[in-house]
């Protein structure tokens, strides 16, 4: 009988440990089952990433619609090539969409904001967004301002 209650207590202990791990995984790290959503790839070229990093957010009107899957240097144009995974359900991005790098808050993470145009055709897997705006480089801005190149 003693052995049985000991086994019961150990079983509860094990379950508690597993439960805590599940809690950490789902609630704390935000690991979710649908994180592997179906997506398609869209590319964009930027002159200056300004600290954009892989796994950053891609958003449209502030709503996350995908993530950055790879960043590489385009050897021919000397610009940064950003590969984005856009969720399948957002399949109506127009081909004249504009991709710009923006900052969440004053010092927050960099993310890619997409604003759609008025074109009738939509971006498909492997397409490139041509109209892009690079990151706002605070140092450059201050430098230009300090040397008097900017009129206010």
């Amino acid at each position: 009988m003693y052995q049985r209650s000991v086994e019961l207590a150990v079983g509860v202990f094990m379950l508690l440990g597993m439960g805590a791990l599940v809690f950490l995984a789902l609630q704390v790290s935000g690991l979710s089952m649908d994180s592997q959503k179906d997506s398609y790839k869209v590319y964009a070229q930027f002159d200056d990433l300004g600290g954009l990093s892989v796994r950053g957010r891609v958003s449209l009107a502030g709503v996350t619609i995908g993530k950055i899957s790879a960043i590489s240097l385009d050897r021919e144009s000397y610009s940064a090539l950003v590969e984005m995974d856009i969720y399948k359900e957002v399949d109506n991005l127009t081909t004249d969409s504009v991709a710009s790098i923006q900052t969440a808050g004053l010092l927050g993470d960099k993310y890619v904001a997409i604003s759609v145009g008025a074109d009738e055709e939509f971006l498909a897997d492997g397409d490139t967004i041509f109209d892009t705006q690079s990151a706002l480089n605070l140092e450059k801005l201050i430098g230009a301002f300090a040397s008097g190149q900017v009129d206010i």
């Binding site: 052995q3 000991v6 086994e7 150990v10 202990f13 508690l16 805590a20 950490l24 704390v28």
Partner: protein, 248 residues
């Protein structure tokens, strides 16, 4: 010379303890009994200290972050400190004090009263009967305790910052989920806990098995267990952190 001999003995000892676990019904019963003594009975101290450490982290973090107007970041601060560092380390220190010293004293007294020798006389291998179940129980309990510690600590941090200090709950969790990665943070914390568990139990059981069988020897060995375990946990923590997170 003495030290290297002890290192050699402890290495052989570790190997024999690891291989000594028997999967028969009796072996499993011994393991479960030890899991109860080492794991379940440590649960109270782990939960209480986890709760209070999480609450302190929430309070301190809030007071610092509120100056910068970014008190929503308290969630990620509490979660990252607990999952990466405090969870495994503090659990290991408490574990060494709570379970490790008890292991050393128990095995030491068995040796001093020649129970181990008489087991050998009866043809029972004390390695299998006494050492292996204790070793494996510590090895299994420690990561579970560390996870529970982190989870309870995060709950404590939430209690203070969200319920008492009024941080917005949605921002608390979403900041945390953005900052904490499952592979990078939680699994690495778990690896730390596994390593600490193995080291603490190894030291505790070996000190008990290897002590001078007098009452003074038992007290020296118990002290050694706590001191050596704590030092190696803190040292190993730096090494593991450097490998996992640092860029050294």
């Amino acid at each position: 010379m003495d030290y290297s001999a002890a290192m050699g003995r402890s290495g052989v000892f570790l190997l024999r303890a690891l291989l000594g676990l028997s999967f028969s019904l009796k072996g499993m019963q011994l393991l479960v009994t030890q899991l109860y003594k080492i794991g379940v009975l440590s649960l109270i101290i782990i939960i209480v200290s986890g709760l209070f450490i999480g609450m302190v982290l929430g309070l301190q973090g809030y007071n610092i972050l509120v100056d910068y107007g970014s008190e929503q970041a308290v969630g990620q601060m509490v979660a990252l400190t607990l999952v990466r560092e405090l969870g495994p380390v503090v659990t290991a220190l408490l574990f060494a004090g709570r379970a490790g010293s008890a292991l050393t004293a128990e095995i030491g007294l068995m040796k001093a009263t020649e129970q181990l020798t008489s087991m050998e006389m009866m043809g029972v291998d004390p390695m299998k009967r006494v050492i292996a179940p204790r070793f494996w129980a510590g090895f299994i309990s420690m990561p579970l305790l560390a996870i529970i510690f982190s989870a309870v600590g995060i709950f404590g941090g939430m209690l203070v910052s969200v319920d008492w200090l009024g941080v917005f709950e949605g921002a608390f969790w979403s900041n945390m989920q953005n900052a904490v990665e499952f592979e990078g943070d939680i699994l690495n914390g778990l690896i730390k806990a596994v390593v600490f568990g193995a080291v603490c139990t190894w030291i505790a059981v070996f000190q008990g098995y290897d002590l001078i069988p007098t009452s003074e020897g038992i007290s020296i060995a118990t002290t050694k267990t706590v001191v050596y375990s704590s030092l190696s946990v803190l040292g190993l923590d730096f090494l593991l952190t450097a490998v996992m997170f640092g860029s050294i």
